[in-house]
């Protein structure tokens, strides 16, 4: 009977042990969950702060660009127009004065246009494909290189914050291309692949060795900015074969 009694005790203790084990497991799970919850909250807070910081930086950069643009416009365009208007209005000939008034109307239009660029409301009204088209037109008009835009009809819209980041990333990519690649053609494609919207920026410029470590933080910033809005940034390039940039947009 002794071995049987031992077996019985073993079974009893095994059952009790399992129950205690399960109890400990559940309590440990609750405690661990609390800890993970706190860590997760901190992580989200950090991400939020980073997101807001990125947005603020981008807004600042765009405003700086806008102010430079306004400065140039005031000096090169409106200043010239005002001088002409002054000249014509001072003339004694009525047709010259009429021309001077026309210049004044033109100046009013130009100032109105400039004032609209001073805040970031235009970001909300402009569509991404429209903005890209305008940027490519500007590049083409400078005579630096040829440009080409390929887009699908239903590329969709984005919230203002995401659009701001995208605008800045695209601007930065185009600036880099003009600054370093010396291309003959810059092509931008807005496509949709397996439900994901993508922007491809392709140039036939000098290209570069991607294995070589970059001196600046430009690429890192672009990647980080895309990740902040839930997108992805990828780049491939070879010396003499141009550069291919792909921005995968958030859904």
């Amino acid at each position: 009977m002794q071995p049987e009694a031992n077996q019985f005790t073993f079974l009893l203790f095994s059952g009790a042990f399992l129950a205690v084990l399960m109890g400990t497991f559940v309590v440990a799970m609750v405690v661990l969950h609390r800890q993970r919850q706190i860590q997760n909250r901190e992580r989200i807070e950090k991400l939020k702060t980073e997101y807001e910081k990125t947005l603020l930086n981008i807004e600042n950069e765009i405003q700086q660009d806008t102010l430079s643009h306004v400065g140039r416009e005031l000096h090169d365009n409106i200043g010239q127009l005002l001088s002409l208007a002054k000249l014509y209005l001072n003339s004694s000939k009525p047709e010259k004065q009429a021309e001077g008034k026309e210049y004044l109307n033109q100046i009013i239009q130009e100032v109105r246009g400039l004032s609209k660029t001073l805040n970031l409301d235009w970001v909300e009204s402009v569509r991404l494909e429209e903005f890209i088209g305008q940027q490519l037109e500007k590049i083409k008009s400078t005579g630096h290189c040829e440009t080409k835009l390929e887009t699908i009809e239903s590329f969709g819209s984005f919230p203002k914050d995401q659009k701001l980041v995208l605008i800045r990333v695209i601007q930065e990519c185009l600036n880099n291309t003009l600054k370093h690649a010396n291309p003959n053609l810059i092509e931008i494609k807005l496509i949709e692949e397996q439900g994901a919207r993508k922007i491809q920026i392709i140039d036939d410029g000098k290209g570069f060795d991607t294995k070589q470590e970059s001196k600046g933080s430009g690429m890192f910033n672009l990647k980080k900015r895309m990740e902040t809005i839930g997108g992805k940034f990828s780049l491939s390039s070879e010396v003499g074969k141009g550069t291919f940039i792909e921005l995968e947009l958030p859904n």
């Binding site: 049987e4 129950a19 609750v30 969950h33 919850q37 997101y51 809005i229």
Partner: protein, 261 residues
């Protein structure tokens, strides 16, 4: 009605199951239509209804001995005609384990749901093989099948707790106010407390028959507690201050940090 009827049907466990079923029925049909179509509510109700049916059917087999003997004879058991283990095996050890796995599946993220699907398929194949090959006849105690089922529920609960630790949606909740957490905890306790006893049932029954009856009472008490939690799940929309809403996972849903910003 004769005394055998009272003996079979008037029992604290069966009466509790009947009362719990009535409560569950009332609360379930008081739910709005969209909630009734949600597996978080109809699966507990299904388990409750299924338990009510098989427990009462079990009581009926104890009342109608001729019927029980006929079924046993049909299954090839002429040695123990007073056993109704075939019903207990099919309903409690097999179908209910599958229903519990389905219930756990509703609380998991899509990749983990697939694991449960394979576990259910695996469990079905193994149990049928063990039964039809005669390794564990349907009319006798089935410790291997129980052990496999219990292990699967324990693994599934592990998946649930893993999700609770890693998933953004679960991390945003208070687990003590989640009914899925309590259901999972009680399931875990039921299966672990009855594990040793069920696996060694034959040995214990031969040597300690009175102890088996006591251990069986634990199984019954845990069963009642489990059903009580199922009713609370069904009735939870009536107590919004007491319970938090469960994270629901669509099959194609992907979670990223962007959604929490």
């Amino acid at each position: 009605m004769d005394s055998r009827f009272f003996q079979a049907f008037v029992d604290w466990y069966l009466i509790s199951i009947d009362i719990l079923f009535v409560l569950g029925f009332i609360y379930f049909f008081k739910l709005p239509k969209d909630k009734r179509a949600n597996s978080f509510y109809w699966l507990p109700f299904l388990i409750l209804t299924f338990t009510f049916i098989y427990e009462n059917f079990g009581a009926y087999t104890n009342y109608n001995f001729e019927f029980k003997a006929r079924v046993n004879a049909f299954l090839g058991n002429t040695e123990f005609p007073n056993y109704n283990l075939w019903l207990y095996n099919i309903a409690n050890k097999q179908i209910k384990t599958i229903l519990y796995l389905f219930l756990i599946k509703t609380w998991l993220e899509p990749p983990k749901k697939r694991i449960i699907n394979w576990m259910i398929i695996g469990f079905l194949i193994i149990t049928q093989f063990l039964q039809f090959s005669g390794i564990e006849p349907i009319y006798l105690n089935q410790p291997i099948i129980f052990a496999i089922g219990a292990n699967m529920v324990l693994v599934a609960s592990g998946l649930y707790f893993m999700g609770m630790m890693t998933n953004e949606k679960y991390l945003a909740t208070n687990p003590l106010r989640l009914l899925s957490f309590w259901m999972m905890t009680f399931m875990l306790f039921t299966y672990s407390l009855t594990y040793i006893a069920s696996v060694s049932l034959t040995y214990l029954y031969t040597n300690y028959p009175t102890l088996v009856i006591s251990l069986f009472q634990i199984d019954l008490a845990m069963g009642i507690l489990n059903k009580l939690i199922l009713i609370m799940a069904i009735a939870s929309p009536k107590f919004p201050n007491l319970f938090e809403e469960e994270p629901i996972f669509d099959t194609n849903e992907s979670l990223d940090i962007q959604s929490s910003l």
